[in-house]
Subunit: 374 residues, 2 copies
């Protein structure tokens, strides 16, 4: 038994949706789940207590950022990331691959690994399967990720094939380099937008002893319809008894479609990033709270929302804070947007449990799309 493992509770008979539990050394959490992102060992603007209050389960931090600053050795000395940032529930780190490959011109890929320059000070750095595993073991999250290449969109077939095969070799090196028994390592399916490469990647990684399976290389610029198509042609080849994590996706329409296609876990900076720009996520779409229409609007962001912000503050007050460039504005909206997605995941779980997920999905998408077209 892995330190981290997935328990499949129920499969929806009328869709791909699944209900499950993810067991970790820091607790057992319900899926489908959305994971708030705490890039630099902090979910921007928020304390751990605020995350507990909104019923956050697993949160994510980024190995690339922590590797460069403050350094993973420092986090090891602090007693690991849970102690360092004082978060007592589940944590996941990515491998650094995604950020390194995003650096474009300032990185170089070989079979051994990736040489790149730090975005902070320009210093020369190196990440490989072995270095990424050591870094993630020093950080000490519950769930760690294999070092992969996220294939850009668009990419030609030959490049995608070679990259996907290398990601498979790197996945084996990650498993070989892993030394800690109290962390669960997830493999990452790649394959670009090519169904046959997705099938190859999913099947190759499924044969290996991973604690869970991630789906990478989606939501990288392709149309949503193509993303859903490729996603469905990936999950169909994944084992049922392992958690499936769609990386970097965090709008409610993508969540409901991902769950419909059999995904259990999601993460994205979207809710906190747009929060800091003054955008509130609501069932019908989005509210830009700086707009004049909210100047004397003393209602909460969303009637019935149980978040701290909606229980205590009005749209008019939050607008005032944004117009006055007060940092509390970013906090209040980050709380609302994260709670919105966490609650949305709760609602999806209830729908699956109650055998109403297809109706939930249809009703949500109908309302959401109608508003977005306005």
């Amino acid at each position: 038994m892995h330190a981290v493992y997935f328990e499949l509770i129920k499969e929806d008979p009328r869709s791909g949706a699944r209900l499950g539990k993810l067991h970790t050394p820091h607790g057992t959490f319900d899926t489908p789940m959305f994971m708030p992102v705490g890039t630099q060992a902090t979910v921007k603007t928020l304390t751990p207590e605020e995350l507990y209050d909104m019923k956050s389960q697993v949160i994510l931090s980024n190995t690339y950022h922590l590797f460069l600053r403050p350094g993973t050795e420092l986090i090891r000395k602090a007693g690991g990331i849970h102690r360092f940032m004082n978060y007592e529930r589940g944590m996941l780190t990515d491998s650094g691959g995604f950020q390194v490959f995003s650096l474009g011109a300032i990185r170089k890929i070989t079979e051994d690994g990736v040489t790149f320059r730090s975005h902070i000070d320009g210093s020369k750095q190196f990440l490989s399967p072995e270095v990424a595993m050591k870094a993630q073991e020093d950080i000490g999250a519950d769930i760690i990720m294999a070092f992969d290449e996220c294939i850009p969109y668009p990419a030609d077939f030959d490049y995608a094939k070679k990259s996907t095969e290398r990601t498979t070799r790197w996945a084996k090196r990650c498993l070989a380099a892993k030394t800690r028994d109290d962390q669960g390592l997830f493999g990452i399916v790649q394959g670009g937008m090519y169904p046959e490469l997705r099938k190859y990647s999913a099947e190759a990684l499924s044969e290996l002893d991973f604690a869970g399976m991630a789906i990478g290389g989606l939501s990288v610029g392709e149309p949503h319809e193509l993303m859903y198509d490729i996603l469905g042609k990936t999950t169909q080849y994944l084992p049922k008894n392992k958690a499936r994590y769609l990386m970097g996706v965090g709008t409610p329409d993508c969540l409901v479609e991902g769950v419909n296609l059999g995904v259990d876990m999601f993460d994205c900076v979207y809710p906190t990033r747009v929060a800091r720009n003054g955008t509130a996520m609501v069932r019908s779409g989005r509210l830009v709270l700086k707009n004049l229409e909210f100047r004397e609007d003393f209602r909460p962001i969303e009637e019935g929302c149980d978040c701290y912000t909606c229980r205590h503050f009005s749209r008019a007050y939050i607008r005032h804070l944004f117009k006055s460039e007060e940092l509390l504005a970013m906090r209040l909206l980050s709380i609302h947007n994260l709670r919105f997605l966490l609650k949305f995941a709760e609602d999806m779980r209830s729908a699956i449990a109650n055998d109403t997920f297809p109706e939930f999905r249809a009703a949500f998408l109908d309302q959401y799309q109608r508003t977005s077209r306005r």
Copy 2:
């Protein structure tokens, strides 16, 4: 009986220190007290719950800022500032005078009031005793302040005399313009650095029906020794049965000296402003947490501090947040610095109650000054 009134509990027989209670419509609070500043209807970066948690009592907001944005009429429509910002304890607003006079070249003073240009959009604005009272009644704090002129330092005697006499006339106009019974109006003693003008101002305002007495025009650039000298030559003429509020002072050495000279209330942006720059207030002075020496320092900011930050996070983590430009850093340090001053006021109250205030003062100043000289 005023809606706001002071209850003198004890006078220290060996110093000017006083123990008291300030009664307001939103609760009774202990003096000597430090009041956190929430300039734009928010104590920067913090929620009301965080203020309650650190045992904050009365907080201050600025009429000048609220007058310009979002407008005091909006706050009235919101149900008053307590409801607007969701703070349920005592609140105080200044009159806007201090900020308006700080505008220098872009304001013009007449007997009627002050014409100035908004720092936000350059629009022409007017404040007078009557306008400031209306604005503060719309805002609805428990304690409101008379509209005065804060005399710059240095100022010649003739200017100071004319200004102080006008402040007295404006004080009477404020009392005449006041309509709400559920707010307490404080007068503000001016007089520059001239003891005879301070005596005149203190006595003239003491004859009027104010709920409390503020001391303005100090800590405006003069040496500390001169401030203490003038402060002592002001408080000696103030009535014992009214609270004394030294405006704009917020370092622990000034607090302990102010209490020693008979002051009951203080406010200052200092603790939150330096917090946002990475400076922690401690008994021995200050810590600049960005410094390299704290990189692997896993101790709290101050051993024994009971604030949320010190109970949960290390200097190394807070340093990481500052180096990474994470907003949580500003929150954590704002919490620590405000709790530091609130606890410092608690400790002064205990010392007065236990008849040990002179020893408390001497021990604190000895330690504080020794460190500052390093």
